[in-house]
Symmetry: C2
Subunit: 650 residues, 2 copies
């Protein structure tokens, strides 16, 4: 690298080089609006709440040397939320040069760094008067996890400003960790929550210092030998049951699993460890095919915030933590950069539109922590002045006792330009579609400038205009999403319109300045069938339009009905409704009666239903009109408990 | 009462008087075998484990006055397991007079009571050097919960021996609690885990002391005002969201909810509080109709061991804690005694056969803590020398870090004779069927002796012979289970065979010595359909035979298949197989292939299946032949994702 590229992930090897935030400017549409709300509302919202609940004050008290003890606020990992917010602010400052954010970053950094100790250690929950000793609870203490997020924030500063106090603090923290946990160091342990691995690998990439990569690799090798098993949770929860290079799937706590896999890809790519990379690819394939919700959400268990066993994907008990979707995007993007395989961008797109975009409210000031696919009871309005249980409301909440998801979404949205496009020696690849201006240099050092114009995802046409082409041959590739089936068309500058299959569509020939190509994606609404092994959704169907998953919500049902009154008729093709709505045919059933026991020896009678047109809305917008019930998977026949007739004699 | 009746529940008012262990002797068959295993293996197994893990030693250390501090073993509620074991031993000693158990009870009581303090307080986790202060954590400390189980054990002793050191300790503990928590006492709080309420009410019944009942009522009134909300859990978890007399359903932590409801019935009955009784009836009806598994199991959530929302009953994430089934039996029995309604005995029967009997292994030395209705992955053999996570094994385990379920099942089995029959002024009512000898006195003081002979539940004929009839008129009632539909027949001494409907069948006329009546219940296998609102089992069907729920288990499938290969054809009537097995028609499908993404725009092809006869086994026996996969709800058509054909254009 000749100079820092402001990108969240920047491998020195691999199949593709990501374009950074300076190269991809999202200029309008779906994601620009969300970036704008993130910048103007969410960052400030997070900062205010972190002050209010004392998580920033923890650093002030720690810096003062006074006893933290009982005065410390928040959970053991609350420092990391401040770091994630700092990372978000750093990316946002780079995205919008000239804003006052640089000064805000410096001010908050001063507060944080004042608590850093002489040897580089920085954590407000351990090692202070009245607090447990440093590294006395690696399993649950999250010290290395917190340091990892500090380092990621520092890496963001290295890649945007080139240097700064935050970057320096990150490097000091990393040096301390290498000293304590490195070969011959005092501590041969590992953290209960993966994160330090990917952070150290990125710091290696940002500084060129090999020791950070070696330390990341060492942490990876230490995991999988059953040394972590905390209380009610088994080693699997910590991904400590099987070494990462031997595991066959993602398992245990979803965020931990996905952060760990991300770190493993980083190390595999940087060290040329094909076996390790293949192991993560295998785990991604298994978990995507068997442990992933239609929305891209991962992790179905509430108890341990973990992956369930294969095909355990109950919509009404979907945990699908927002942070797991951020972690899934991190992993998918790394695998895309390593392999060039467009499936990773397919999952990233699905996750972006249906989990990451679903979490924040329109105003960027309340959030879903968990993302259920079926809300059975109308939510209760969360009190705006108190902490909320993380997943029990049925409505977005302004803050949580564990508020990881808010700054995690914020840093992702601020850095989103870094997940759009890649380059290689042959040209440029577009993976996600948004109004954007893309300016980069080819391997030969020539300028290449493109404009992308699209109404995506509402509209399926993506127009790419070449504003400045290099002189030599180069090629433009466009991802054709899997959901496009055989409906996608590519229109080339010569006016030819040709079908393109899901995967990577390479525009034939070499585009010149002024040329325009158009990708036409079929965004007519379509029914979706689940794998029959997903028992929890047998006998139901869902609907998608483009990359957007739809749902039926009580707000659109007549007569105050709830969504359990709905069945749909997939034999009638769905059609576009007003705005982003879709209209389908179905039935609205009356109230179902039931006896004192919900199981019967005769097939329960189907309640009287009336044919109806039903309005579906994008899942990502649900619960934005007040408390509601909602479901993504809709039954296809009322009252059906089985497909064959039951025997007359029960 | 003229003299103590050895019964686990003994209201002074209500619709029915329970017959005690001295009046009902289970002499053979299904339950006698389990009582025998409980007596000969489980009690000793529990005691040995409690010594091994130090839970009994906690009392010794506490009695010595030395610092418990870090030396204390087990969770904060481990004392209660010792008390539950003591209660089980007391009932068992009464069931089998002349055994050495009385001496064992006295010895273990000595150990426990030595730790009781001068003011009656007894708890090894609080109030000792190095331990938190008494009542410093009412929310999670379980001190009153533990005392409740001590009192229940003491009540058992009062009702079997009339007196003893255990009873005295219980009374001292209760007096202490009334002093501290009573009107004008130092502490206006309540316990995070209900149990003390029913215990105090029973102690009132056993001693005639009104203050215990008043204290139970006071604890009930204190709950429901949002004073408990611990960490991640909301007041609902503790049933502290709504006062018990206002709540519309059972909710939150299932064992807590069911213990609380049991205490509320006790208080309602003793105080003649019809409003309170009606409230619990309403809650039972709602929870039974909407929040109960086919097995009778309650509580679907793993995260909080709690009831889910209505119809959230995923079979593969069924928590259905064994202790919740014990608590459900406690509640059902109390409601039956209060109202005489046979539905409560129906649920009790279902719970007894399909949860309580399913938990212990044949040898009484390993147990299910949670009782899933769908095991997707073959279990791993639990190591016999370490604690086990409570629900993750897929096999019964000898012990758990939280081992409440073992002594809870043990005390239930030992006292089971107390849940079989009741009397009232008009005669005698049989609620559960087992080989038994029943001897009691009528309201007029005359002897009444019956013999019950049956092969139940394998056989549906229950023969009742009158060995000694009172001279005056009296009547015998027999419960006809709901599952019998219109298939039950009653054969009277005159040879008449008449249909009897589910509910209570009163034998016409007055039976005389030597008379025999026969109840014939239709135990042919039958299909069961779920309420269509139980989304998680849409498109599936289950099978019952008599009160026994069946399942398909991989051990009975050819070619090493797992249960996801099974679909059943309910149009073919099921038939009896060998022993207790049932044979149904269905298909065995081959392996299903899948792409990298488990959702498709064309209906997934049904994999090739072969017609097959499938052997089902009683759910209660599952996992007794080694690791297996299992399901209760079986799909009725392979590969079906919806009942109507999908539109050709996806």
């Amino acid at each position: 690298m000749t100079q820092p590229i402001p990108a969240p992930v920047l491998p020195t090897r691999g199949s593709r080089r990501p374009l950074g935030l300076g190269e991809v400017r999202i200029t309008g549409g779906f994601w620009a609006r969300r970036q704008q709300v993130n910048a103007s509302a969410t960052l400030d919202h997070c900062r205010q709440w972190m002050e209010r609940v004392g998580w920033i004050d923890n650093f002030r008290v720690a810096a003062s040397g006074g006893p933290l003890g009982e005065r410390r606020r928040g959970r053991e990992f609350s420092d990391s939320e401040v770091y994630k917010l700092l990372e978000a602010m750093v990316w946002e400052a780079a995205r919008t040069p000239g804003s006052a954010l640089d000064a805000d970053v410096d001010e908050l950094t001063d507060t944080v760094v004042a608590a850093q100790e002489g040897d580089g250690y920085l954590n407000t929950a351990f090692g202070h008067p009245g607090r447990p000793a440093r590294y006395s609870d690696l399993e649950w203490g999250h010290e290395l996890y917190c340091a990892g997020h500090l380092i990621q924030a520092g890496v963001a500063q290295l890649r945007t400003r080139g240097d700064g106090a935050l970057a320096k603090a990150a490097i000091r923290a990393a040096d301390h960790i290498c000293h304590v946990f490195g070969p011959g160091g005092a501590n041969p342990g590992l953290c209960g929550h993966a994160e330090i691995e990917t952070a150290l690998a990125e710091l290696h990439r940002a500084t060129g210092e090999r020791r950070y990569l070696d330390q990341a690799a060492l942490f990876l090798e230490r995991r999988g030998h059953g040394s972590l098993a905390g209380g009610e949770f088994s080693p699997e929860y910590f991904q400590d049951d099987v070494p990462v290079r031997q595991a066959h799937t993602l398992r245990g706590h979803a965020v931990r699993a996905l952060y760990l896999a991300s770190g493993a890809v980083d190390v595999a790519v940087e060290t040329g460890d094909g076996e390790l990379l293949a192991a993560v690819v295998r785990q991604w394939e298994h978990a995507t095919a068997r442990r992933t919700y239609l929305t891209g959400g991962m992790g179905s268990h509430h108890r341990d915030e973990g992956f369930g066993e294969d095909f355990v994907l109950p919509p009404d008990r979907a945990y699908s933590e927002t942070c797991a979707s951020v972690a899934s995007l991190m992993l998918s993007w790394r695998l895309l950069l390593a392999t060039g395989d467009p499936r990773y961008a397919d999952l990233a797109e699905r996750t972006l539109y249906n989990v990451i975009a679903a979490s924040p409210a329109d105003d960027g000031r309340s959030f879903f922590y968990a993302n259920t696919l079926h809300q059975r009871v109308r939510g209760t309005v969360p009190p705006h002045d108190s902490d909320r249980p993380r997943s029990e409301s049925g409505l977005r909440a302004p803050w949580f006792a564990v508020s990881c998801c808010l700054p995690n979404v914020a840093r992702t949205l601020a850095a989103l330009g870094g997940y759009v496009a890649t380059a290689d020696d042959g040209g440029l690849q577009l993976h996600q579609y948004a109004d954007a201006e893309i300016t980069t240099r080819t391997a030969g050092g020539e300028r290449l400038a493109l404009r992308v114009r699209t109404g995506y995802p509402a509209d399926g046409t993506v127009a790419v205009t070449v504003d400045e082409a290099p002189t030599g041959p180069w090629s433009l590739s466009l991802r054709v999403p899997g959901w496009a089936g055989d409906g996608a068309r590519l229109v080339t500058p010569d006016g030819q319109r040709r079908p393109v299959r899901p995967g990577t569509a390479v525009v034939p020939g070499t585009l010149r300045t002024g040329d325009e190509v158009r990708l036409e994606l079929p965004v007519t609404p379509r029914w979706v069938h689940p794998d029959p092994r997903v028992d929890a959704v047998r006998g139901t169907i869902a609907l998608e339009r483009g990359p957007v998953v739809y749902c039926v919500e009580s707000a659109d049902l007549p007569g105050g009905r709830d969504v359990d009154a709905v069945t749909v008729d997939p034999s009638v093709p769905p059609r576009d409704g007003e705005g982003d709505r879709v209209v389908v045919a179905g039935e609205l059933t009356g109230a179902r009666s039931g006896g004192w026991w919900p199981y019967a020896y005769d097939r329960p009678p189907a309640p009287a239903g009336e044919r109806a047109e039903l309005t579906l809305v994008p899942y990502l917008t649900w619960a934005s009109r007040g408390p509601s019930t909602m479901r993504v998977w809709m039954p296809t026949a009322p009252g059906a408990a089985g497909e064959r007739a039951a025997a007359p004699e029960g």
